[in-house]
């Protein structure tokens, strides 16, 4: 065969190769001495629509990574196979920062960052899928604050991910809207999962164990985004949360008592249902007002329209911890009831009544224990105040927010 024919034969083959390259539309990085620079350069020069593949192995990074190009997928070989290791990190408030829209992170791990693990800020449509963030030395105050950390974002999906060792919250979604956190595992963090100053969130199918507190739904003052609402926490396993609080003081989670299952603080329209709560030593479900003084006229410190129903309770309440544990047992004694509400309402309502739309409702199986601590009365005249343990007084319901739907789940499912 002449060489001319060989060229013709090779052409279709070449074409196939080109197609294959086009389909992946991106670059592959393999571990090695220049991998850190190659990866960061790939993140800067990525084309929208492309994928950056991270081969199996450990990547040693001394600076934080960042992505600011929209519509990019970062894909590893598996959360236990592709590891971005930041043990020698010299700079950067987080390991990986994403500031662009429509980004998918999947199948890799981020370990031992000095600050937060992976942060996405101001990003619309961010997906964390089978991502692992861990601090390998176990729970330590010197670990970074947040593992998976979407903030000021829209359409947030965290699924099948694992976070261990965060000194604040393992999976933390702050000042965001339209959120699903599902089928993930959070262990040995101060808070397993936290939804803060956010609206329209579904948290379900997660296993949250050996943290200080399991799942927190908080709203805090003096922030650009406040008034968290419409949060559903359901079908989660919240079991054996028994790690002593190792958050640096000053942080709001520093007050969370070891063995808190679910805590709802401030917020409106929070529904907690079908969860399994087991062996949470302080209390399974705590509903509370923001405890600190604040200077912010736009902030509502009280939880409003909370519905607790159909959960399963087992053990727990026998080892109340810390200041919060002390305050509760000072009123209820030990064991602490399954569900505790501090009973603090705005002063005008305390003197009159709370409208049906704003109340706390509980609808649980017989045998579930409950206490309204009546903390206002308790502070004013503790000698004649006893908690209201009559769960029947809290019968009723408020409309449940509809299921969160995310655009990034529309194409795949």
């Amino acid at each position: 065969m002449s060489s001319k024919y060989r060229v013709f034969l090779a052409l279709p083959l070449l074409f196939v190769f080109c197609l294959a390259a086009g389909a992946s539309g991106g670059v592959s990085i393999v571990p090695g001495p220049n991998a850190a620079e190659q990866l960061q350069e790939a993140l800067i020069t990525a084309e929208p629509g492309s994928t950056i593949n991270l081969a199996e192995g450990t990547y040693v990074l001394s600076d934080g990574l960042s992505l600011d190009i929209p519509d990019v997928t970062i894909r590893g070989a598996g959360m236990n196979k592709t590891v971005l290791s930041f043990g020698d990190q010299k700079a950067g408030g987080e390991g990986f920062l994403i500031t662009s829209d429509n980004v998918v992170l999947e199948d890799f791990a981020v370990e031992d960052t000095k600050g937060d693990g992976i942060k996405s800020k101001g990003a619309d449509q961010i997906t964390y899928r089978r991502i692992r963030v861990a601090w390998s030395g176990g729970p330590k105050e010197t670990n970074g604050a947040y593992g998976i950390y979407p903030v000021e974002s829209k359409n947030v999906l965290v699924e099948e991910s694992v976070v261990t060792g965060a000194s604040d919250a393992g999976i933390y979604v702050g000042q965001s809207e339209n959120i699903i956190v599902r089928n993930s595992i959070a262990t040995h963090n101060v808070a397993g999962i936290e939804i803060e100053n956010s609206k329209y969130a579904d948290v379900y199918g997660n296993t949250v164990t050996h943290n200080t507190g399991g799942i927190l739904v908080f709203d805090l003052p003096n922030l650009p985004v406040m008034g968290g609402h419409s949060v559903r926490v359901f079908d989660n396993q919240i079991v054996d949360n028994d790690t002593p609080n190792f958050a640096p003081e000053g942080n709001i989670v520093g007050m969370v008592a070891k063995g808190t299952g679910i805590m709802v603080m401030a917020n409106r329209n929070v529904h907690v249902f079908n969860n399994t709560l087991k062996n949470n030593g302080t209390v399974h479900v705590l509903i509370a007002t923001y405890p600190n003084e604040f200077d912010d006229d736009n902030y509502m410190p009280h939880p409003r329209a909370v519905m607790i129903r159909g959960n399963t309770y087992d053990g727990g309440g026998t080892e109340p911890d810390g200041e919060v544990g002390g305050i509760i047992t000072g009123v209820t004694g030990t064991p602490v009831p399954d569900i505790v509400w501090d009973g603090v309402v705005p002063l005008t309502e305390w003197m009159t009544w709370t409208s049906d739309d704003d109340r706390i409702y509980v609808d649980e199986a017989d045998g579930t224990t409950f206490a309204n601590l009546y903390m206002i009365q308790n502070t004013l005249y503790p000698w004649s105040t006893s908690p209201d343990r009559d769960i029947e007084d809290y019968a009723g319901t408020v409309p449940e927010p509809k299921a969160v739907s995310l655009p990034q789940l529309q194409h795949t499912n």
Partner: protein, 350 residues
Amino acid sequence: MVIRLFISLAILCAAAAEVFAAPVNDDALMAAKPARTLSEYNLFNDPKKQTPNAGVVPYDLITPLFTDYASKYRFVYVPAGKTAEYRDREVIEFPLGTTLIKTFAYPADLRRPDETVRIIETRLLIRQENGWKAWPYVWDEDLGDARLKVAGKRLEISVTDHDGAPLVIDYAVPNANQCKGCHALNKEITPIGPSARNLNSDYPYDDGTDNQLAAWTDRGILSGVPQSGDIPRATDWQDASQPLEARARSYLDVNCAHCHRLEGPASNSGLFLTAWENDPPTWGYRKRPVAAGRGSGNLEYDIDPGNAAGSILIYRMKSLDPGIMMPELGRSMAHKEALIMLEEWINGLD
């Protein structure tokens, strides 16, 4: 006779300009892809001495950003026939093609900032059609040229420190994304330094000292400066004759507020440090930390009045730990002198 002399002089000058200084390369500045080497832009006549080309104007800021005691040489280039517009509060509005040039350099001895200065890096911010572009160029060892480093670079720089001891600075050239980490306003790359308030001071030009805003106006590169003279002026944080509060807020404005403002990368913290922020909890007064993690240092407030040692702001500015330190980028050392000033300010707050 006199006329003939003028003509020949003019011809001579033009010829000299032809030979010694090609004009700034506007095409290279406006190209979608950045030049591989800094010399392609023709911004300097003598790069080693940082002598600018015609049309490239040096400037200074009243209170600059602290970057590990680096010396900085700043220049602005506005293409011929174009004019920047004055802004009262934000950075001046620059026209297309504008290039802000900042060269980082270290003296061999930090106590003698003007002697044996070695230039390290030149950063460009170029105003193109689709926004500002940020490109870092690292100088060759022999200072022949500087090369583009999109992914950034770490450099070890040996100097003698303020106490006369040898010091190795772990200098970080930012990558293009890190540039945006600070230079972002509403998610767009934006210059930080050249605001009217921070330019409103005298500069010793070759042809005499003049107020920078007036000089820019005279050169035709700036318009709209109020004739009333009612122009905000930043306070020099080092000027002990000025009120401590003004010095402190000016320092925080320049060093922190590019991120710590509603439109900036640290908006989620709720701590906003612009010079014009008047709500006490918002500028840190008895403000509790939000997402600080161990950055809180077991302390309750960003600024605890009367208690600098108990204020998170001071704790984070002193720290060199990446998980704690503020700012997050651009320093590997603490700014001791500024900390003394800020501590004095906080200790004096009620």
